[in-house]
């Protein structure tokens, strides 16, 4: 049903991605502004403070917000150029309905038509196949208020269990690991703890490109004399200066951590008092790693044994230490185990609940932290409550004014929803803030699923690659067009302020959901006059849960430049650091060790697919690129995916930098330029995943899921690489002048097919 209405090329011609190169009025226009609006960057979980400059209700520039404590004015290039997503030629201004007979495949329709059609289809599908046959996929670039509203909308208006979100592709492994071990899903530390650490251990996190501002926190620790350990298959810009670099093989993280724990135990670099008083299960953990000698670790991980010992020594003998991990260890079919193996290191050395100590995940998505707490995750209700727990259900039903039985049970996770579409269980889909066609593994599989849907409706501000498959597209709001709160990587709730109103007939997302609920006959549950009313209900709904926002108000959040949850009562100062005094969130106050035995990745290299592939991000792009692939200055910085490979592998393949290579996996193949660098393991290639269609790295990745978190294994699969026809010149710098830009530029040049346009 939902096949692309017209050719991809025609869709791209009409809806983009096109590049916005200049601020409104052009560069020569003087910056004569009406106001500056304090808000936050929409790209990534650091949620840096930024001031947007507004003139004539358009965002025309930015100014560093020096007074916001997290970033003190610092921004990465995405933050600097975020303002160019407004006033964009691709911006959706009217509702669209697919119509293959018109140019671009979509005709403009009224809001009445778009909403009525969507509701008719929901009713038709649910009447025919049951309530759960209509799913909702959401995303965590949305505010807490929208996340809460969507969770409630799915349960009470759509009445489906099948609601999940793209946080499933982000930090669910960390969340699950933290809950199991510590009893609560939040990074245990404010970032101000990082500079207090004597050793900083970065595992599977390309901090410089994916959480750039964290770099300055790490350097502040190093300026005090802290040592830096980095575990990564690539020498990332931060790893370049590490004191100990552990260049491990993809998918061997729990083996590395197990080996380090083994060395800690061997040398008695342990905090026995902490283990005895504040934890349980140490014996299991120790037993699991009893055979994980440094030599075993070296052969399993491909890291010199002496470096494993040195890392253990630094970690074990330092009074304070922070371990920061991210998608590198979490995007695996053993993501939760990897996280638990890191937590074991923190618990074994007593590095919790005091200044400069903790094991923290670096949340990736804008509101990755807050979004998952407010209940738009298939297994959770607001306040990080469990949708299967009768008490939790009863409390939330009370806040919502519904019967507990009206709240559906646990639904399918994001990737499982795609598989359920293939199985015919799910027939209809509404999605917002999620571009599964690019971001889920095995893009051919995802596209085929979207095409099987009887009805697909999308709320978005640009026509994303997923929206190309839709029947109805409703133009929603950009980050700067609505207000609300988000919760940053630190667990700090912050205020997002609207700088401008939505343009044209685009509407604020929450208003769209209110209208849909009304038409579904469930309007009585959705009587809000503004987003602040949603917040006020949300904080009550969160009260008593672990993520308790009850004591917060918008006013307080702004006045105090953010409040860390839990903040259970008015007047409560919030909780920057968790587990102070070694009191954990499990009922007995103790943290849990877990015995982690190494498991290999779901797919390992073999004769046919002899090279490891790992995927990741680049500094200038954000997630599936719906926004950042439309900002000219960011696209120029890294216009298309490059396949990084070591000179040894390149020599075997007869490949030089700039040569096109074809990378194949069991799922698909792609052809892209090679960049030959000594900064990656010789047995591994890396491709960033931000692009769509034939440039999508997710054509290759594996849909294998972690059994607990259901996160896909983006970071490890087996591929073959061969030289292909063609060569492009790869520049070592971005074009920086208008004139170079006019001449066309970026890191690749001389590309006859104009591939850089996408």
């Amino acid at each position: 049903m939902s096949r692309l209405p017209v050719s991809e090329q025609e869709l791209v011609e009409r809806f983009g991605p096109h590049l916005n190169q200049e601020p409104p009025g052009g560069w020569n226009h003087g910056l004569d502004i009406d106001r500056e609006v304090k808000t936050h960057c929409c790209f990534c979980g650091q949620q840096c403070g930024i001031k947007l400059k507004v003139a004539n209700d358009e965002v025309v520039g930015f100014e560093p917000w020096y007074d916001f404590p997290f970033n003190e004015g610092k921004l990465c290039p995405k933050g600097v150029k975020r303002y160019l997503q407004g006033n964009h030629p691709d911006r959706l201004l009217e509702p669209l309905e697919r119509d293959a007979s018109v140019e671009g495949g979509f005709r403009t329709v009224s809001w009445e038509r778009a909403l009525d059609r969507t509701v008719q289809e929901i009713r038709r599908i649910q009447d025919a196949y049951g309530k759960d046959s209509f799913a909702l996929l959401s995303g965590v670039s949305l505010t807490n208020e929208k996340s809460y509203l969507i969770g409630k909308f799915a349960r009470l208006a759509l009445q489906t269990a099948n609601l999940d979100y793209n946080g499933r592709l982000c930090m669910v492994s960390a969340g699950a690991g933290n809950k199991k071990a510590l009893g609560m899903d939040r990074a245990p530390n404010p970032w101000s703890d990082i500079p207090l650490a004597d050793v900083v251990f970065v595992a599977g996190a390309n901090v410089a490109e994916c959480a750039p501002i964290t770099t300055s926190y790490i350097w502040r620790a190093r300026d005090r004399g802290a040592k830096l350990i980095v575990a990564d298959p690539r020498v990332t810009p931060l790893a370049r200066t590490a004191d100990v670099f552990l260049g491990l093989r993809p998918g061997t993280d729990s083996a590395l951590m197990g080996s380090i724990l083994h060395v800690l135990i061997e040398n008695d670099w342990l905090d026995h008092h902490f283990i005895d008083e504040h934890t349980s299960g140490f014996a299991d953990a120790a037993a699991a790693v009893s055979g994980y000698t440094p030599e075993w670790g070296a052969s399993t991980c491909g890291v010199p044994a002496d470096r494993i010992i040195e890392a253990a020594r630094l970690w074990g003998t330092s009074d304070t230490g922070m371990l920061l991990h991210a998608r590198g260890i979490e995007h695996q079919s053993k993501g939760v185990e990897n996280v638990l193996s890191c937590i074991n290191l923190g618990l074994a050395t007593g590095k919790y609940g005091k200044p400069g100590c903790g094991v923290s995940t670096i949340t990736g998505q804008g509101n990755g932290q807050g979004g998952r707490e407010q209940g738009h995750k298939c297994d959770q209700l607001p306040g990080n409550r469990d949708v299967t727990n009768p008490e939790h259900r009863a409390y939330v039903a009370g806040v919502w004014g519904c019967d507990e039985s009206e709240i559906p049970g646990k639904g399918l996770t994001a990737q499982e929803i795609i598989e359920a579409i293939h199985d015919g269980q799910i027939k209809g889909l509404l999605s917002i803030c999620f571009n599964p066609a690019v971001s889920l593994p095995d893009t051919a599989n995802t596209a085929a699923a979207l095409d099987k849907l009887e009805y697909y409706s999308v709320i978005d501000f640009f026509l994303s690659e997923s929206a190309q498959h839709a029947d109805v597209v409703m133009p929603g709001s950009l980050h700067e067009e609505d207000e609300g709160t988000t919760t940053s990587v630190e667990g700090r709730a912050i205020k997002i302020n609207a700088a401008v109103p939505p343009p044209g007939n685009a509407r604020r997302d929450w208003e769209i959901f209110l209208d849909l609920a009304e038409r579904l006959g469930r309007g009585k549950y959705f009587r809000y006059n503004g987003t602040e009313e949603i917040f006020d209900e949300m904080k009550v709904a969160s009260h008593g849960g672990t993520a308790d926002y009850n004591g917060m108000t918008w006013q307080r959040i702004e006045d105090e430049q953010g409040i860390f949850w839990p903040c259970p009562e008015p007047g409560h100062p919030g909780t920057p650091r968790l587990y102070e005094g070694g009191i954990f969130a499990h009922p007995d106050g103790r943290a849990r060790f877990h015995g982690i035995e190494f498991r290999p990745p779901a797919e390992v290299i073999d004769e046919d697919y002899p090279v490891w592939l790992t995927t990741g991000r680049v500094i200038s792009q954000y997630l599936s690129g719906t926004q950042t692939r439309r900002i000219g200055a960011l696209v120029e910085q890294y216009p298309e995916p490059l396949c990084e490979m070591h000179p040894r592998l390149a020599a075997e393949l007869g490949v030089e930098s700039g040569d096109l290579v074809t990378v194949r996996s069991r799922r698909g193949n792609m052809t892209t330029p090679a960049r030959v660098v000594e900064t990656i393991r010789p047995d591994t290639v890396f491709i960033p995943y931000h692009w769509a269609g034939d440039r999508a790295a997710n054509q290759l990745t594996n849909t294998a899921l972690d059994p607990i978190s259901k996160i896909p294994e983006y970071k490890v699969c087996a591929v073959s690489v061969e030289k292909a026809e063609g060569h492009v010149e790869i520049r070592d710098r971005r074009v920086t002048t208008l004139q170079e830009r006019a001449a066309g530029g970026g890191h690749t040049a001389g590309d006859p097919e104009g591939r850089a346009a996408r």
């Binding site: 052009g26 560093p64 490109e209 020498v235 200066t241 260049g247 070591h646 960049r675 002048t737």
Partner: protein, 213 residues
């Protein structure tokens, strides 16, 4: 006018100084992107940032104008178009005078000035004069996530950063004192000797333990 603009104060208020510590650069290009937002040259980025040699390392080379005490660029300018202000800031070429000869581009020991063919003029970093002249930090140093580009007082530097400030560079026989500082472990070893650069040691000399360096 910008309603939030503070009142005009002395240039480089409170003796704040610019420090560049290239070793910390993560190559993110926030500075490059922010530079073109600077009011005096909107749309043109004047800071330099490129890989030293991407095949071997992720080390990047950021470069702002070092604001030499005795600027080579100004001395070789036939048009007398490059001026230093009272605060020691070496300004971009005076537009009416610059004749586009590129002498400054070729003579600057730091490789800073940029020649722009369409206006037929040189432009260079002026330490965000529109910002520093009203007491704001330059764009690049404001946004720099690693703080490889840093703006503050000498006291702040000593309180918060390791290393020592160095204001002198050696290029062959020529020692060039600069207003912008860089960071060295030990100041007593003398000026940063640029011509011995290619002997610099690798931080990770064999990152993957391949045994062949």
């Amino acid at each position: 006018m910008n309603p939030a603009a503070p009142t005009i104060v002395d240039p480089l208020v409170g003796a704040r100084m610019f420090v560049i510590d290239q070793s910390r650069c993560i190559g993110c290009e926030a500075c490059v992107q922010a530079c073109e937002e600077c009011g005096t040259h909107r749309g043109q980025s004047l800071i330099h940032l490129e890989f030293v040699e991407r095949g071997a390392t992720t080390q990047t080379a950021p470069m702002v104008c070092m604001h030499c005490d005795d600027p080579t660029c100004a001395e070789v300018c036939p048009a007398d178009a490059i001026k230093q202000n009272e605060a020691g800031i070496v300004q971009s070429a005076l537009k009416p005078r610059c004749i586009g000869c590129s002498n400054c581009v070729l003579a600057c020991p730091f490789g800073v000035p940029k020649y722009f063919a369409l206006p037929d003029q040189m432009m260079k970093c002026d330490m965000c004069y529109d910002r520093t002249s009203v007491g704001l930090a330059p764009m690049c140093a404001s946004v720099c996530p690693s703080q490889a580009l840093w703006f503050g007082t000498e006291d702040e530097f000593e309180e918060t950063r390791s290393g020592q400030l160095m204001h002198e560079f050696r290029f062959g026989n020529q020692v060039v004192p600069t207003k912008v500082a860089t960071v060295v472990a030990d100041r007593t070893a003398g000026p940063v000797d640029v011509m011995t650069a290619d002997d610099a040691p690798r931080w990770q000399d064999d990152p993957f333990g391949l045994g062949d360096g």
